[in-house]
Symmetry: C2
Subunit: 307 residues, 2 copies
């Protein structure tokens, strides 16, 4: 199952010539999970060829305009392009009012159903193959960090072992492969008797706007990929404290302590035309750091020993 992250916008507060406002799409197989919808994100969404009519969930971290203003236009454009599948939206409770009021005031005509779920800490989405969890972040207004966690997959199936235990090929094999224990002529055969150890699913973390802190370090522990607020460089740390954002170095320190495999810096202040300095600062504390760019795509593979 392919899992990739597409950056639709990577600037904070104001767009720049090179960077649109924050939006991050996670494509998992045929489904899209979109985190934040800054103004103009629909344009990079279309440019990315991500498609109109597929399973789609939108998660909003917090109600600052640079993370939300693109939502209505995106919804309207999906409708104009003929979407008829429902759209699931998750975010702070007040987001519902935002959608309802603006749909009315701006005469937005939708061709599909919208289901809104207010976010609280803990499990936000529970699907067959993955879970999305939320954790309170530390920002100037109520904000959530999100984590996508794929469920562990069953281990490698060993046909020889199944044959040796007298399990006939077919439906029973299928059940054993998917982790079920089965009865064969009254005898219990456990899935674990005929399969290797479970293979871990992947985890992707999205911080939204926040200070780096201990809670988030625990929340993002072991992520394969973490996208973290890196609004400022170290010499603007006072600004980071004042505006409740993080420096690239702070993001790296958290990622390192949380044993995150890959750290992606994003949400850069418009003052940085070149973010090389921020990557350098973060790289002092974490060995696998890159800076997001608009339209950048990152593939998140299964660990190589564990396909």
């Amino acid at each position: 199952m392919q899992l990739k992250v597409i950056f639709l916008g990577t600037s904070s507060a104001v767009p720049t010539a090179k960077r649109g406002l924050t939006s991050i799409a996670v494509q998992r197989g045929g489904e899209l999970l979109i985190f934040d919808a800054g103004e103009g994100m629909q344009r990079n969404f279309m440019r990315s060829g991500l498609g109109t009519n597929r399973r789609m969930k939108v998660f909003i971290t917090h109600m600052h305009s640079d993370h939300v203003l693109g939502l209505l236009g995106f919804m309207q454009t999906l409708a104009l392009n003929g979407r008829d599948m429902p759209l699931y939206i998750y975010g702070p409770e007040v987001l519902k009012e935002y959608i309802d009021v603006n749909t009315r005031l701006l005469n937005v005509n939708l061709t599909y159903d919208v289901y809104f779920t207010p976010v609280q800490e803990g499990v936000v989405v529970e699907e067959k193959e993955y879970t999305v969890k939320a954790c309170k972040a530390e920002h100037s207004i109520h904000s959530y960090a999100y984590c996508i966690e794929e469920h562990d997959r069953p281990g490698t199936f060993y046909p020889d072992k199944a044959i040796a235990l007298g399990v006939p090929k077919g439906r029973l094999w299928h059940r054993l492969q998917h982790g079920e224990d089965v009865l064969v002529d009254g005898r219990l055969v456990r899935s674990s008797d005929v399969t290797g150890p479970k293979r871990k699913g992947r985890r992707i973390g999205i911080s939204g706007d926040t200070r780096a802190n201990k809670r988030l370090e625990e929340f993002f522990n072991g992520c394969d990929l973490l996208v973290f607020d890196s609004t400022f460089s170290e010499d603007e740390k006072d600004r980071a404290l004042e505006t409740m954002h993080s420096t690239a170095r702070e993001a790296a320190e958290l990622a390192s302590r949380a044993n995150v495999k890959m750290l992606v810096l994003t949400h850069f202040s418009a003052r940085y035309d070149d973010v090389g300095k921020l990557v350098k600062e973060a790289s002092m504390l974490h060995s696998n750091v890159i800076a997001a760019e608009d339209m950048m795509v990152i593939d998140v593979p299964y660990p190589s020993s564990d396909q």
Copy 2:
């Protein structure tokens, strides 16, 4: 006094790779009049170097999302860039609710005062040197067309005539130059005695979304420049009728009847990657037609015989 039109967005309904959503800035000397604020217009606004802290008025034609969604982000960005001069906004009455609700829901912090005036037909703005008028357009929802009309300027001043009439140089000349009649040693000297005929001001029309009709033909009569809804080509006329837009040909027919000097087509459907066809259709009926492009700037000079 320089007068120019800067196109910040020229697409209808959805943005394309080349075109953002509708917004048109008219720069008159040091002042900016902005018509509509489609999503993302702040980006081209910044790219145009139009500045943060200058006299500025925003006019909204109607409450469709593709004409309004960029307003809040634009307002927030002006604040982040330190604007402290008041911003004047004109539009349908419900625009006030839109601004108020979203300022609250999205925690928009402004550093300047906002004055909203609901638009009705007739004079919307009366300034010393120009007037902005509104006329009801013909669209699927309540929509206004706007016209900027510079006041006529006093005619050329002839010093020889003033001297011959015994008017001493100085304050009296100044008053005569600006159209006032004066008393010189008890004798009345009329401004018209020492100046040429009044010089006409310029007129710029902005249609917003509308069908072309007789009312607008009268409203835009004699415009130096008219920016008119040209969403469709002639072979999509059914669509134009259905969605209450105009074809390029219809725009040109109106411009021709209204003795408009220059017609600018805009608000193109995303189906036209190349709008050459629309220009061709319009050019059959009007001799001075161009298609707007994002970031295009058009200078509107005084008539050449009348500097």
